[in-house]
């Protein structure tokens, strides 16, 4: 089961990455450029021929390919994919809409994230689609594994469906205004249960009130281009324990609580960003003295089809059964357009 899903993730990634890798080869790029030039020349001829009859629209040649993704946003301005599948940083969703589609087009990203601490491993993979630079839909699966007895065979999985809508501002163009780009979002999470822990098969047995829950959030992203700085603040209403891996609500608290999440990134250049994040967490379970998460990351955008995030993460101790503060490495790969 474990092997199968791992293979599945790699297959998905390989399928998505294949055209990307192919596209980056020089021959392919040249062929594409030539095709574009032919298209432009054709459009120019067409407009020259038709200029007497009907005033042609500039760029009419592009209209026939209007259904093609335009890759029109500037590099890195779609962010990366965070650990729950939404466009953002590493731990936190941002107000940016994933992918490189402008408001006239669309974009998408597939991600595979591997997070490993002393005693646990978290894998996340999924796809996210950005529509008209306005709406983002995401699907993600999280798999959480233990590697230290008595949790050595532990496995918990969770499905997350995300929806995000940009409601105001533009992070890139509004350089003369204080208004950040603002988005609202929701994450619909369903915990699929626990295996490898004997009689414990549900998060409810660990004290959670439910195995499903919805996070609601509001994100504000401000790009301070003159300072090469990106700032994000997210306010999340949540009941989720360890993002939902340990269920929703609990014996200590079963109400929605507002949690702040903060990110700051310095753009070393347009392909490289260095940043930090902090994510507050609720404490709903007697069996888990849940801690806030934080990380320091380096995101690399070699091109619009590919990005990689490397981070150092601190997750705190996870459940009373292992009091060790968990720290480790976070590696995420995104492929898309």
């Amino acid at each position: 089961m474990k092997k199968l899903s791992k293979r599945g993730a790699f297959a998905l990634l390989a399928t998505l990455a294949a055209p990307v890798v192919a596209q980056t080869s020089d021959a392919e790029r040249e062929a594409w450029m030539q095709a574009q030039q032919r298209k432009a020349a054709q459009a120019m001829r067409a407009s020259a021929a038709g200029s007497a009859a009907v005033a042609p629209e500039p760029g009419a040649g592009q209209d026939q390919a209007a259904w093609m993704p335009d890759l029109g946003k500037l590099i890195a301005t779609g962010g990366v994919i965070q650990v729950e599948g939404a466009g953002g940083g590493g731990l936190t969703p941002w107000a940016l809409i994933t992918g490189y589609g402008t408001r006239d087009s669309y974009g998408a990203n597939a991600h595979y994230t591997y997070l490993s601490t002393q005693d646990y491993t978290l894998k996340s993979y999924g796809v996210a689609v950005g529509l008209m630079d306005r709406v983002e839909l995401s699907l993600a699966k999280q798999e959480f594994y233990g590697s230290l007895a008595p949790l050595a065979d532990l496995k918990i999985t969770q499905d997350i469906v995300g929806l995000k809508v940009k409601v105001a501002g533009d992070a890139v163009y509004d350089q003369d205004r204080w208004l950040p780009q603002i988005s609202v979002g929701a994450m619909f999470k369903h915990n699929n249960g626990i295996s490898g822990l004997g009689a414990v098969t549900s998060v409810k047995q660990l004290g959670a009130a439910s195995d499903a829950g919805i996070d609601y959030y509001l994100s504000a992203t401000k790009l301070l281009l003159a300072q090469s700085l990106l700032l994000n603040g997210t306010l999340r209403l949540t009941k989720a324990n360890q993002m939902g891996l340990l269920g929703f609500g609990g014996d200590l608290n079963d109400r929605y609580q507002a949690m702040g999440e903060f990110s700051a990134a310095y753009m070393i250049n347009r392909k490289l960003a260095l940043g930090v994040e902090y994510r507050m967490k609720p404490r709903n379970l007697a069996a888990d003295h849940e801690k806030d998460y934080y990380d320091a990351f380096l995101a690399w955008f070699p091109g619009k089809n590919l990005s990689m995030t490397l981070a150092y993460v601190a997750l705190g101790d996870i459940t009373v059964y292992n009091p060790k503060r968990q720290r480790g490495v976070y590696l995420s790969l995104q492929a898309g357009f």
Binding site: G59, D70, R103, L225, A226, N269
Partner: protein, 148 residues
């Protein structure tokens, strides 16, 4: 008590004076640090030269210049970049909205132009943080130039 109030008043006075001087100074000597960081007029001219070459070779937006006097566009761009960066030039071209109306430019077109400018600045050795300072001044022009 009186002593405290006097101190407060003195502080306020000093503060007002400092701010006043600071204000007067900014009014008298405009900040030309970006202009200097870009490398002054010769580098700006070279950047604009490369920028225009990039755009004319860029199949995404080359067609938007088919009715343009390229020499004039370049001159106006130099004036504009020089003025924006505090170099003391005056932009004598037509208002941005007027220049671009009818072209029906999209955000993708605007961003293609930005990418061509970034490559031109790369070529002339302008560091990323300096590039971004200029781009921060140009970015809001999206509202005046994009009409589609």
């Amino acid at each position: 008590m009186i002593n405290f109030r006097m101190k407060q008043a003195a502080t306020a006075l000093v503060l007002a004076f400092t701010l006043g001087v600071a204000h007067a100074q900014t009014a008298a000597v405009p900040d030309d640090s970006l202009f200097r960081d870009l490398g002054g007029l010769p580098v700006i001219q070279q950047v604009v030269d490369d920028f225009m070459s990039n755009m004319l070779a860029d199949t995404r937006i080359a067609h938007t210049f088919k009715d343009s006097n390229i020499k004039r566009v370049k001159d106006k761009l130099v004036e504009q970049f020089c003025q924006l960066s505090g170099g003391g030039c005056v932009y004598t071209g037509d208002p941005m909205r007027e220049v671009h109306q009818g072209l029906k430019l999209s955000n993708a077109d605007f961003n293609a132009l930005v990418e061509d400018l970034q490559l031109a600045m790369d070529k002339n050795g302008i560091p990323s943080r300096t590039q971004n300072r200029l781009l921060a001044l140009l970015a809001p022009m999206q509202r005046e130039t994009v009409s589609r």
